[in-house]
Amino acid sequence: MDVLRTLFTLMIFPGGLFILFNGMVYEWADRKLVARLQNRVGPRWFQPLADMLKLLAKEEVVPASVDARLFIGLPVIALAGVLTAALYLPIAGLPPAYGFPGDLIVTVYMLSLLTLCTGIAGANTNNRFSLVGATRTLTQLFSYEAPFMLAMLGPAVAAGSWQIGEVMAYAAGHPVILTQPVGFVIALIGLMGKLEMRPFDAPEAETEIVAGAMTEYSGRGLALFYLGRYVELIAGLTLVAAFYLGGIQNPLDYFVKTLALLLVLVGLQTLMTRLRIDQTVGLWWRYGTLLVLLQWFVTLLLRS
């Protein structure tokens, strides 16, 4: 029975299938809302699913100049990474499927794996757009990763634990968004950087470098990278909601809070112009990192 239960947790709920579908629905909501705000019609509700089915069914073209094992393996690693991260999160408002002291660090690292794989995937090919895109992806990774991580650790420091479940329990009793407002903003904007949403979509700026690191990908590989991004959207929203919006106690709580955050992301995406990569790095290191460090010191001082 235990094996069956584990398999169910990993493959169907809350990991695996559920989170994939959840991700597609949120992706649709994101695209649809941005479209409506931009005075467009936007995609139909099953569009992300249709895209995935089509891509998965298509032939995967492996370019001549790449290391084929890496080319095929990277999307799998990327998706596996974010799916693993999701297991430690209160997906759908249920308690995390797994947990151990320090799982927060593991989760945040697993969430970066997608970006890292994207960067390596781009650098693996010989395509100029991919190479420029990979450089930008990795440059951007180094700019938002540190502040995002610090923003995630802020509530953990206040809670005195690096286990997601315990931080959540602390967040449920304390208004973290009020005590650490800077951390909340940085975490949310860092999430946009992670997901390469506008204004941080320089790594895949279509008018400059086509699809960036993803240019050579088609079929299955591209589908897996997309799925990875959908799962990361869910994981990121859950993490921010759990830490800053008073924890996640039940399914209703989960959907209300994550969708509210998604709405904020939609608004920001609609309002912003794409930043150049140097502007992104400048923004994060000149303001983001310094502000979140300041927040950290304040948190530490108040705690002791």
Partner: protein, 396 residues
Amino acid sequence: MSTDGNLSGKRFIVPIGPQHPALKEPGHFSFTVDGEIVTDASVRLGYAHRGIEKATESRNWTQSLYLLERICGICSHVHALAYCLGVEKLAGVEVPPRAQAIRVLVAELERIHSHFLWLGVAAHEAGFDTLFMYTWRDRETVMDILEALTGNRVNYSANVLGGVKFDVTPEIGDTIRRGLEFLEGRTHHYLEVVTTDQVFLQRTRGVGVMSLEQAETLGVVGPTARASGMIRDIRVEAPYAAYADYPVQPVLAEAGDLEARFIVRIKELFESYRIIRQILDTLPVGELQTRMPRRVKAGETVSRVEAPRGELFYFIKSNGTDNPERVKVRTPTLCNMASVLVTAVGHQLADMPMILAGIDPCFSCNDRTVIVADADGAAYTWEQIRHHGIAFYQGK
């Protein structure tokens, strides 16, 4: 200009085009980059050459008008206008003032639709899709006006040799006024957006700066020149059609950067609104067409009009028959293209689409023949290449 096999060498060239999402028409740009900084740029044009100039020689004067109107899908009216003005000058025909005023009216409506289109495209290149979608939605207003006025959204076919095809009734005048009122409000909003949105300004202010000296050396035209403080406006310098009766105030900016080009184009919209209203208020009474001879007297002439993108130049030569001997077209994009290559150097790769969009390029209009040369480098004449072609295919 090699674009391959340079990965291990010092030069890393990013090819933009001939097929690329940033380009709506085929063109090829090679940007040599050092990291993200562009150190060299080159362009290759001619992918969309259609041989229209040559085709006019086997059509009569009236048929050529319809052909030339199809050079550009955006500024179709100015092509027909430049051609008509030239041919009418050759034939010594006086066009009634009402027709000339209607020609200017359509030309200004076309400028509005072209500038709105450009605003959207430029915003899209910068990654500001919201502005893109909104401007293109509002552009529908002027497209609807053009359709109501002429029956067509794109190739309005307003001109005939010796006049215009349709009249502006008071009812249609009211439709235009209502549309302009809406557009004017929106234009004020867009002017505010491009001059105050901090994130957007980061992408336009101080980017792609072209000084007045550079602009004069490179011979740029139209809004691109005016954004560098150079008065280059045929409507002002050599008024044609009815522009002498409806004088234009040239819109100038000093900065020469992308922001200045946004400001110049948007402020030109206000000027267009003003002229259109003035024409509607004081439309001369009279005929719409005069009689045009089928054959045009032998001679040659030059005709220039201000297209939305800058000076449009036509050279027309007649040999006294009912076909043109030669029609030569030079579109503003060709004059402005060199400025892209000069201003690109030193900027980031991310700025390239915007700098390119800054001149409002129109590729298929500016594409012209390639020089076909034999192995010795001697160019073929038209007759020689025709014989070569026949011999080549007979040998197959």
